[in-house]
């Protein structure tokens, strides 16, 4: 990781009149990395991508590529391939001419264009459709043509702007793997924008979670899921039980937090807290253990099953612990977990828990 980043954006701000849409944010991207900008709509992820591509000028800050400042360059001078959300294929050109466009602009000799276009159509799994028009293709095929058109010019960076959002659910799942495979085969540095956490997790080496024009947190998917740094991150990514607690003891790399009448032990994380601080304890629903027989020890609570939802592969149990404390637990629908009924007294343990601040503070940030 000591290697120089392929792309670096520094202190970038985008201002529309009095409204700050983005920033200041800083992002650096490593060679060959699959990086995802994840966040709800309006979080600034697409603006960031457009600033990288040169389609939007940042109000402040700089973008540099391989150490060269490219902030002032127009899109044609930047070495990037962009796949648009609606693909933006040229409707009046055949698939071949669509894909060949970037090569023609670079004055690549004709025989080489033919060879490279045919090769890239092969890579995206669409050999032999060069003579068709975009209107004659299915959504999934158009999407692949858009990817082919962007990568055939062998850009230093491939930018993907929600390229899967216009596909139906089944196709979307398949395209995730396909896109990731294409990316790995070409070894191309990729920045992917999405609001879909599953997409982000399945495809990326690293995820940058954005919110309100700033970066909430960044890291590999596992880290984002296990160790969110804010309530927003905990709730946006996956499901989370967020429970109010109070710090009773600050130990070596460990915190003791009082939740209801129980004492929870949790890793200290990066947060600086003192005794008496009010915090939030996060437990992922699949990491909650339930038992009909008493469990003793730390991180345990006692409650009653208040609802039970069976959804095929999973069973979700909601358990009421106190008047204002409910916990959700989701488990594979094996016989073991089907046996719980509403009203059953249960013992709950949550060894795998994580402490968050009670209130989120506004972030800018860098990743």
């Amino acid at each position: 990781m000591t290697q120089e980043p392929v792309l670096e954006i520094r202190d970038v701000v985008k201002q529309y009149g009095d409204v700050r849409a983005l920033g200041p944010v800083g992002i650096s991207v490593r060679e060959g990395e699959f990086l995802t900008l994840l966040g709800p709509s309006g979080c600034g992820k697409t603006t960031t991508l457009h600033i990288i591509a040169g389609l939007t000028n940042p109000t402040e800050g700089s973008v540099s590529m391989k150490g060269r400042d490219i902030t002032a360059l127009e899109p044609p001078q930047r070495d990037m391939g962009l796949v648009f959300q609606n693909y933006a294929l040229f409707p009046h050109k055949t698939v071949f001419d669509n894909v060949a466009f970037g090569l023609r602009m670079r004055r690549v000799p004709k025989p080489e264009i033919k060879e490279r276009v045919e090769r890239v159509l092969e890579v995206v799994g669409l050999p032999g459709i060069g003579s068709r028009y975009p209107s004659e293709l299915s959504g999934g095929q158009r999407q692949r043509v858009a990817v082919a058109r962007a990568v055939v010019i062998e850009p230093s960076i491939l930018l993907l702007d929600e390229p899967l959002s216009n596909l139906d659910a089944v196709l979307r799942k398949r395209m995730r793997l396909d896109l990731r495979n294409i990316q790995q085969r070409l070894g191309i540095t990729t920045i992917f924008v999405t609001h879909d956490q599953d997409e982000a997790f399945e495809m990326s080496d690293r995820v940058i979670l954005m919110n309100k024009g700033g970066i909430e947190q960044s890291g590999p998917p596992e880290e984002m899921y296990d160790r969110p740094e804010s309530r927003f991150a905990a709730e946006f990514i996956g499901e989370a039980n967020l429970v109010a607690g109070e710090v009773v003891e600050v130990g070596q790399g460990e915190l003791k937090v009082k939740v209801a009448e129980a004492i929870f032990t949790a890793p200290a994380g990066k947060m600086t807290v003192a005794q008496g601080d009010r915090v939030t304890v996060m437990v992922r629903p699949e990491r909650v253990e339930v038992s009909k027989t008493p469990i003793s020890g730390g991180n345990t609570l006692q409650g009653k099953v208040s609802s039970r939802v069976f959804s095929g592969d999973q069973v979700s149990l909601t358990m009421r612990v106190t008047e204002d404390l409910e916990l959700l637990c989701s488990k594979p629908s094996t016989a073991l977990y089907r046996g719980f009924d509403i009203g059953d007294p249960v013992w709950i343990s949550a060894d795998d828990c994580w402490v968050l601040p009670r209130v989120d503070t506004r972030k800018g940030g860098a990743a």
Partner: protein, 282 residues
């Protein structure tokens, strides 16, 4: 489509169908048959089948010249309307300015005053002591007033002005319906502004270009008042010929033959445009 669906769409088409039948096809049929009758100085026409009217229109040098001039002026009018209208339509379609509404209004504005009024306006501007000549003299570009009135230039100028909305609106709608990401995509693939325009924007606005050109061509080919007032007797076009033949000379069979030739020219131009428009699935 099932039978009731077909019945329903027939029902939807029937009002305009009846209007077309009564006021377009019937008159065309009427003057088509009239064009095959023989002119008679006392009875106006005698219903005897003859091709002499068409022979005269197509072989007489006088009519040949007028047909040629009509097509030339119609072609030049659509060409200049296109060249002047395209940048305007492009600006209207792409810009986010708050002036857009006002500009749109200004584009339609020429349609709101009567054609006679507008044409007299041009006479005032283009006359030998009109505003145009005075300006040219005062900035020292010319010493003597130049003849603009009663030339093809005057007719062309006025037609381009009057017919501009018919060019701008089809262009505007085809430009505004383009996905702006398609142009951006061309940019990210390495095309500069000019290449993007030539490779993407222009071909994608073909429908608008064809539609606008066809409209302006047919309207200018059929114009009567503008060439009559601004072209004078030197710039005769088919429209005035028909007018004169019907109302002054009272040679209805010949007028019908001239009219038929004009309609034929317009239809074939429209057909040509739309054959061009059908090419490729864009």
């Amino acid at each position: 489509m099932n039978t009731s669906g077909r019945l329903f769409s027939t029902f939807l088409f029937s009002p305009i169908g009846i209007v077309y039948l009564l006021f377009l096809l019937a008159p065309i049929g009427f003057f088509l048959s009239m064009s095959l009758f023989r002119y008679d100085a006392f009875e106006l026409y005698v219903p005897a089948l003859t091709t002499e009217n068409f022979e005269r229109v197509l072989t007489d040098g006088y009519y040949q010249e007028i047909i040629f001039r009509t097509l030339k002026i119609a072609f030049l009018t659509s060409l200049f309307s296109l060249l002047l209208g395209y940048p305007l339509a492009y600006f209207l379609a792409r810009s986010r300015t708050q002036w857009r509404g006002i500009l749109m209004f200004l584009v339609i504005a020429p349609l709101m005053s009567g054609i006679i009024v507008r044409t007299y306006g041009w006479i005032v501007l283009l006359g030998s002591d009109g505003a145009v000549n005075k300006t040219l003299i005062s900035i020292g570009l010319i010493d003597q007033p130049v003849q603009i009135l009663n030339t093809e230039t005057a007719v062309l100028l006025a037609l381009v002005h009057i017919l501009m909305p018919y060019m701008v609106f089809p262009l505007f709608s085809s430009l505004a319906s383009q996905d702006p990401d398609v142009e951006r995509a061309a940019g990210t693939l390495g095309a500069g502004r000019i290449r993007t325009f030539l490779e993407v924007t222009l071909p994608l606005s073909r429908t608008g270009i064809l539609m606008g050109s066809a409209l302006v061509f047919t309207l200018s080919a059929g114009s009567v008042v503008t060439p009559a007032l601004l072209g004078g007797k030197d710039v005769q076009m088919l429209g005035q010929q028909i007018y004169d033949l019907v109302l002054t000379t009272l040679n209805w069979p010949l007028a019908s033959a001239v009219a038929f030739v004009l309609v034929l020219c317009q239809f074939s131009i429209i057909a040509l445009y739309f054959r061009g428009g059908r090419h490729g699935p864009a």
